[in-house]
Amino acid sequence: MIVFFQSSIFVNLAYIFASILFIFGLKMLSSPETAQRGNLVSASGMLIAILVTLAQNEIIAYEYLLVALIGGLIVGVSAASLVKMTSMPELVALFNGFGGIASLLVGVAEFINPSSSTLIQIIAISFTVLIGGITFSGSLVAFGKLSEIISGKPLILFGQRFVLSALLLFALLLVFELIVSTGLFNISSQTILFILIGVTLVLGVLLTAPIGGADMPVVIALLNSYSGLAASSAGFVINNNVLIVAGALVGASGLILTNIMCKAMNRSLSNVLFGGFGAATSSSEGGGQIQGEVKPISAEDAYLILEAANSVLVVPGYGMAVSQAQHVVRELGELLEDNGCEVKYAIHPVAGRMPGHMNVLLAEANVSYDVLAEPDDVNPLMDTVDVCIVIGANDVVNPDARENEGSPIYGMPVIEVDRAKTVFILKRSMAVGFAGIDNPLFLKENSRMLFGDAKESISTLVSEFKT
């Protein structure tokens, strides 16, 4: 009986079964009703894959792997249960990086294992190391930027593109040398592999460092895709279908998300990756000086307007995450609804620092997901909205995207809040958004600035409603 469970046919059938569970799990993740079950289905696929691997007779010693498994389990459980919802972007980036380094290490382990590797395996190892290394260091830089350990500003080095292309060519040359070993470098193939690892790590840093805070959703989605491709590539190293299938699914889903994010900003992927957006656009482009003045409003006056409103649209941005305002926002929304007002939330796909960031925060605050709308749903009805409350969002509500052809964000689909009857903008100061460009919304006739910390401002509104 035990022999059967260790037989290659059983193990491979179990891997196929695990792949099926991954496919169903991902499918179920794309609908809110089934998403949680989908995640469990995919997790059970993973459990099956791990258990049959452990039972396989290829595994002869358990000491090391059990220590590593238990260590990883402890770290994973504590990180996942202790992290705050507002820190979710950096945690996702970090986990992503761990996936990348794990695939890289699988490639390295196979390479230094004396049992001779076939040509195909060596090619696969090279690509695994290449993609895994870029994923790892790129994710670490993204983690640093998101947790503000390093500056979120785009970091453009002199000759960035040249250095990047040169390094990429060098990496490909190393890969070529590993495969055909022409003896060009006169060093052992192991040394070449280690140089390759170093080069890929530098590449990952150089690819991520120039990307600014506002573009982080694209980068995270792209790194997500890379981590899948690295796993898929590792599947070719160990000739294992489940790695190839699961990795390819992740690679594809990451690419779809990347594409959605790019479309939401009306920019191409290469523009996001190499454009250094926001670093060079500080000087105001042509298109005329912005006219008008900033009109501040007190929380008391804002309350009077809200009290009379029949429809309110809340537009959150990264500022809501920073001031942790999601709970008071939900409270204000409920008070408005009790007052007979219709409340909706308009969420731009790139609001925040990762895809879906705002949705997670509002879900944490217990806002029902069916009142969360996308820009395309709310824009046609904008003229009927009495009050738009913009909470720490800036570039995603900038009217320049529609009106000023000279603006760097011209053409980006935005939430057209300036067409509502009144717009409240909750902001700490008049500073520019992540993209570093001016926002004429603040100067429009129907705009009122509610200065101060978003959480405090909304708390004041809430207490006004309660008295």
């Binding site: 469990l40 792997l65 590593a68 990180a79 996936g99 230094i112 690295a230 898929s232 294992n240 790695l243």
Partner: protein, 95 residues
């Protein structure tokens, strides 16, 4: 010759899976972008299968050591990824 046939088979699986992936996740509401990403991220931890084989299988001390580190990182990715996705999805409610 046999390894070439195997390569073709694996490439076949790869190409089909990529197409399957695009079809599967084509229409995801933006509400679920984050959980989809972190859930997919957990799936990419499947590389743990390779890591387990490298850490527990035959090999030199250094290849086993490298494999063991791979197991450590991959298991953080798997366990943390699924748990955090579950934690997020629990919050998505319709009232």
């Amino acid at each position: 010759m046999e390894s070439q046939a195997l390569l073709v088979l694996l490439l076949f699986v790869l190409v089909l899976s990529i197409f399957l992936g695009f079809e599967l996740i084509n229409k995801v509401p933006s509400t679920l972008h984050t959980p989809l990403m972190s859930g997919a991220n957990a799936i990419s931890g499947i590389t743990i299968v390779g890591a387990l084989l490298a850490s527990g299988g035959e090999g030199t001390f250094s290849s086993i050591l490298v494999g063991t580190f791979a197991v450590f990182f991959a298991s953080i990715n798997v366990v943390g990824g699924y748990l955090v996705t579950n934690r997020m999805l629990k919050m998505f409610k319709k009232k």
